[in-house]
Amino acid sequence: MTATATARVDIDPGARPAATESRAPSRRGRAGWAWLGLTPFAAYILLFLLLPTVLAIGSGLFDGAGRFTLDNVAALGDPVILLTFWNSTWVSLLTAVIGAVVGALVCYAMLGLSDSGFVRTTVDAASGVLAQFGGVMLAFMWIATIGLQGLITQLLKGGGIDIYANGPWIYELPGLIPAYITFQIPLMVITFFPALSALKPQWVEANLTLGGTRGGFWRHVGIPVLTPAFLASLLLLFANAFSSYATAAALASQGAPIVPLQIRAALTSETLLGRQNLAGALALGMIVVVAVVMWIYSLVQRRAARWQS
């Protein structure tokens, strides 16, 4: 769930010749056959992307007998469910803000370093691993660090500090925060660096030549230009944390403090009849949140892209 989904609309240079070609009658018959070439992929997308999405949303809107109902959606108003949505939201927002600020600082620190230098290649690869590959393994890392028997926990205990005086919070909601930050910072580095590196050194030179200062450059040029890109990355980080499941599944062994874990509970519990459709309603709730965030993202990103070409 990562990435620089640049909502960039290219003006395709290939478009014009194709249009003239299709006017030639001999070509038109061939184009008819060419359509057939698109069908396998279209069928695949239909079956494994569109159908599951429709089923997931649909199962929240229909009851077991296939009748349209709003009962499941109404279940989203349940205080427990509302609390999990709230939990998901603030944890995602908090880790997105921390990840975005720290990640942006890391990008800034890497400005001016060679693209193929040791630091850049290492940071790029490590960011990719932590942002996209982590999940369960990030949870293990933090358990080894601040788990009940973790290295830091033990060190602090030796110094007379018990970080678990108020109970084992690492296996509850607060425990998600350090683990989430571990994949948010790298994701920020991946998504924000292209924007930062698009700042042209000539702009500073121009600014300095005209009597400005470096601080003034950042205040009046650098930060205003980068703000849309920063906000876009922040939204992407929020959506990323909001949809994340693996880390929480590995950390929170009991209970379901966030929405994805509620979906797991609804999917796997066979004791309560009709819980399957609650999973659908929860999925619907999630997709609404993520869709709104990604929609704003694409609007902001379009503005951010203005300076990036």
């Binding site: 599951p52 400005l111 193929s116 369960v136 290295l151 300095l208 693996a246 797991r264 999917l267 997709i287």
Partner: protein, 266 residues
């Protein structure tokens, strides 16, 4: 000198502080694999257990999961190379107007959380289980969707960098058939994008947990969680190896990507 760049001191402070945040958990995990079971001092036993036949039952789920994950990686890469790539070439050559619509669809999985997708995939996989069996490899259909945005971007960058239309017309004029054009003219020119797409697909598949776990298939990540419950040391060792492997894989992707940008500056 780049005037935008921070001073050496700033660079080091940020590097060290953020570096520590990541180094501490990694070092903790590494030290954990050397810790004695009773917590008194350090030992190599957990690592040698990896190769000892007596401990093989502990690692059993990992090997099964890893085997399944590798099979899934192969099938997913096949979907990318033999289903996605030909379609992208076709769009580039014959349906350039469809490009933005195609891009929208290819990037769509980013906006659909895997946990949502899995709710809708559950009934579909019930049907697949009845017709194709419950083998782990069937998950590759879902994984093909998960890797789609990453694979699309790598391949599209290559297609944009090469003039596929002229290459194709030249080859056709010289008498090649379509299969020759795709296999012997286009594929070699797109090799960097195809390689990057394949490697990133392998990385994503090996790291995938959500879909496999909720559809009850055994893959590397689900096996890690199972093993962690019985032997935390074994799970930690495999985690370190997997992270190191993914790191090397992504270093190679980085090299491949840079090779591309270096070659195609007009």
């Amino acid at each position: 000198m780049n005037l935008l760049a921070p001073s050496r001191v700033t660079r080091w402070i940020i590097g060290i502080v953020v570096g520590l945040f990541f180094a501490v958990p990694i070092v903790s995990l590494v030290l954990f694999t050397f810790r004695r079971v009773d917590g008194t001092g350090y030992t190599l036993d957990h690592w040698t257990a990896l190769f000892s036949p007596a401990e093989s039952s502990v690692f059993q789920p990992i090997w099964v999961g890893l085997g399944n994950s590798l099979l899934l990686a192969v099938v997913t890469v096949a979907i990318v190379l033999f289903l996605l790539t030909p379609t992208m070439i076709l769009v580039a050559l014959r349906f350039p107007k469809l490009r933005s619509a195609f891009e929208f669809v290819a990037l769509l999985p980013i906006s659909i959380p895997a946990i949502v997708l899995v709710v809708g995939l559950a009934p579909i996989y019930l049907q697949i289980g009845r017709t194709l069996g419950t083998g782990a490899w069937t998950l590759a259909f879902a994984y093909g969707i998960t890797v789609l945005p990453f694979a699309y971007r790598s391949i599209q960058a290559s297609i944009d960098a090469v003039d596929v239309k002229t290459l194709t017309e030249a080859a056709r004029t010289l008498g090649s058939g379509w299969i020759t054009v795709v296999l012997r003219v286009l594929a070699p020119n797109l090799r960097q994008g195809l390689l990057a797409a394949s490697l990133i697909s392998v990385a994503v598949v090996l790291g995938e947990f959500t879909i496999a776990s909720l559809l009850n298939r055994q893959v590397l990540q689900t096996a890690l969680l199972v093993v962690q419950k019985t032997d935390g040391f074994a799970a930690a060792i495999v985690t370190i190896l997997a992270l190191a492997f993914a790191f090397v894989l992504l270093l190679i992707i980085g090299r491949v990507g840079r090779g591309r940008t270096g070659r195609t500056t007009p």
